[in-house]
Symmetry: none
Subunit: 244 residues, 2 copies
């Protein structure tokens, strides 16, 4: 497969963007790097003249944007996702620079959709939203002023992906990755089982599920592995209801 | 010398810029990457409210910009210069990607000023202006739409310089990794539990344990995570022996 085609599988997901100009600028940044799949989650702005003016020659990308109610909807079907954030978290998901992350993101994107997620200009992404993504992306920046404009962050990340297309050979993933919605369904089933086991107290859950999410995010789940884990959960439920 | 100080010697030179917003956005892009020396050659716009709004937290960079009549004036004192251009020229100047050029530019900037030069939004740089610079910079781009916004081009080039300062190394949270023998003991306990659950048939184990080992190996186990997993196993064994 032509590595340029991997770019066709890259979704740029903008969450709750406030300024239409930034949506337009992000579309332009995408197209200059060969990306076309823009997803807008609950945008706080319209696709207006300002957006079209700043999209410049990338109005086609802007007009083809998919509008979603939730981040989950935008991540439907993806096999990998990375959330761009400048903030440090107390419970860090695996965090990489765009350069470190790009080879694996592009490798996964040869076969299936991959999402890069960007939060709102003022509030970024919530912890809940961050946790839906497998990796965090931290753009190296001036520690005294890390605040890249939204479209500038899209430009840098897209540039890193693009840099792998020209002249580099990407390794093919040797397995089938589980999809976002399958993994989320597994997390829900896992939580239910842990509650059934009295291991997780729903009234005092502490940080158990976030910690387990982080662990699974670090590994990345293949489809066959997910089937194994679901089998384990089913066996636990069965054993629990069958005294021996 | 601290490599971050080399950034103090990088001049960003904007030639005949038309839109004040782009000057402001370029200032912001610079500051996020730790650059502060902005030179404006015959700007076609004023430093107005639009420029200040888009500079956001980088108004200081904007206000400190040096205004020059000519490119020659902006290049006074520099020991190296590179002109960003997407166009192929008949002039066979050395052309590099920002990534290829960054090490030498930063190396030179440790001792003396180095300039990155960006042309106007519509006309770019004239051949005469290009010839005043030592190198050309070509940002890898979509051949069907190479038109990066001016500030986006500044962002990408500044990001490449910055990446040499931080060495691409993000300080990772210092978790305590589980030890080999602890992990092996966990695998044995996991195997026992899976047999107890009738999920693993010891007479026909197939590839289940090797697959699970591979999964855990990919994630890498921290000590606290290992404690969680051991807790889960204990909860399963307890639930199994307690009909409810």
């Amino acid at each position: 497969m032509n590595p340029a085609h991997a770019l066709d599988n890259i979704r740029i997901v903008l969450v709750e963007t406030s300024h239409s100009g930034n949506v337009g600028s992000a579309a332009r940044a995408m197209k200059t790097m060969g990306l076309a799949r823009l997803y807008l989650v609950s945008p706080r702005c319209q696709i207006d003249d300002q957006a079209r003016a700043l999209a410049s020659g990338a109005v086609d990308v802007l007009e083809a944007a998919r509008h979603c109610e939730t981040l989950e909807e935008a991540l439907y079907g993806v096999v990998h996702s990375a959330a761009c954030t400048s903030r440090r978290r107390d419970l860090p998901h695996p965090a990489y620079t765009p350069r470190q992350a790009a080879p694996e993101l592009m490798s996964m994107a040869r076969d299936a959709p991959v999402a890069l997620v960007f939060g709102s200009e003022t509030f970024g992404l919530s912890n809940e939203q961050l946790m839906q993504c497998r990796w965090l992306l931290n753009i190296p920046a001036n520690p005294e002023y890390m605040s890249l404009n939204l479209a500038a962050a899209v430009q840098v990340c897209a540039y890193e992906l693009r840099s792998l297309v020209d002249g580099n050979v990407l390794p093919l993933p040797s397995f089938e990755a589980a999809r976002h919605e399958e993994i989320e369904a597994f997390y829900r089933a896992l939580e239910t089982t842990l509650v059934d086991l009295d291991f997780l107290d729903p009234l005092a859950p502490k940080r158990l599920m976030p910690r387990l999410r982080r662990f699974f995010a670090r590994a990345g789940l293949e489809r066959e592995e997910l089937a194994i884990w679901r089998g384990v959960l089913a066996a636990i439920e069965k054993a629990k209801n069958r005294p021996d």
